[in-house]
Symmetry: C2
């Protein structure tokens, strides 16, 4: 199947996430114009995306929500899910596990790695926490291809060549460190605390300006 553009993947993910909520409501149908309105997307984009998925809606009721979810899932090939590990289990690591345990995502967390004896040997939401020294063995045993870097006291860059050699294909960097990654690893990153500091700083500027 053709590779989808980044923006299309983003929109399909947004539709899916929104529809997952609607699933539980009394109305299992939605009009494309309502999907467009809720996500503030041009409705032409939405109709084009839904056409690309090969689903058609009814004039009177709109699109079947459950069918849409199934088609988007198939198109994003996320029904199987990819195996991931969380490296560093402080507040950020716990927060990510909380989100992953609750919401639909195409990511199955199979292992947590940490340096603290308080966490090592325990399971959290059913996921075992190992010492950092076990990274190589566990990633291979559990067929893990995604690494979520959360709370690390060390320079995360120190782990990149190891992770690359173990077949990690995607890294979510939630640490404040910048990473130099080889071309064969896809990177997504975000630092919520930095975003909150920016929010507080610039909203203060606006308040006094």
């Amino acid at each position: 199947m053709n590779k989808l553009p980044q923006k299309t993947v983003e929109r399909l993910s947004q539709y899916r996430r929104l529809l997952m909520r609607y699933r539980y409501l009394d109305k299992p149908h939605i009009f494309s114009k309502d999907l467009a309105r809720l996500l503030r997307i041009n409705s032409v984009h939405v109709r084009r995306d839904l056409m690309l998925l090969g689903v058609s809606g009814s004039h009177s009721k709109g699109y079947d929500v459950q069918k849409l979810i199934v088609r988007i899932t198939e198109r994003l090939e996320c029904e199987k899910g990819k195996n991931a590990c969380i490296i560093g289990f402080g507040h950020t690591g716990r927060a990510v596990l909380e989100i992953l345990a609750g919401d639909f995502t195409p990511v199955n967390v199979k292992a947590i790695f940490d340096t603290s004896n308080k966490s090592i040997g325990h399971t959290f939401h059913g996921v075992p926490c190992h010492s950092m020294g076990k990274i190589a063995g566990v990633i291979e045993d559990e067929n893990i291809t995604l690494a979520i870097l959360a709370d690390m006291d060390e320079d995360p860059e120190n782990y990149i060549s190891l992770l690359s050699s173990l077949g990690i294909k995607g890294i979510m960097n939630l640490t404040p460190a910048h990473l130099n990654l080889p071309d064969n690893i896809h990177l997504e990153e975000y630092d919520l605390v930095t975003a909150l500091i920016k929010l507080a700083y610039f909203s203060g500027i606006k308040a006094s300006g």
Copy 2:
């Protein structure tokens, strides 16, 4: 004081976050070149930023970590902190509270708002959870200026004019909905689940490509 550029605020926040960890180590000094290396920033930028803060380091030991933290805090004016509320207390809202409770941020969460009777009336990390109907009164009483939109069943846009009229100056949008905000509200946004779906999709492309 002059308004700092966005990139400078980002770098200062990153220094601060990194230094907060170093505080607990045996070496309370750091060289600008190590700060640059850990954050993968040009060391010229780092030295310029530290000069702007008016701190000077020692040739043999580098910069005093605690002094640096104090100066950055003053410059970002985040020692007072701004009052915030979390709207929607599902997995994302809980994750944000977890991060805010654990890490330094210039944000004090004073209230949570939710629709679920399971949460309303209880406190979490010392923060009370109110019904959505109490938004106006609580935001005024607690002098709240930041709103973190987390897990909402409704269209978050429905709340924007209310939040604006109550004096909210900054919004962190963690929902998948796009927001149209008035000019006097600063926006930061992120959707971790969408980022994870992109990570899984594009790392799959790389794996098979």
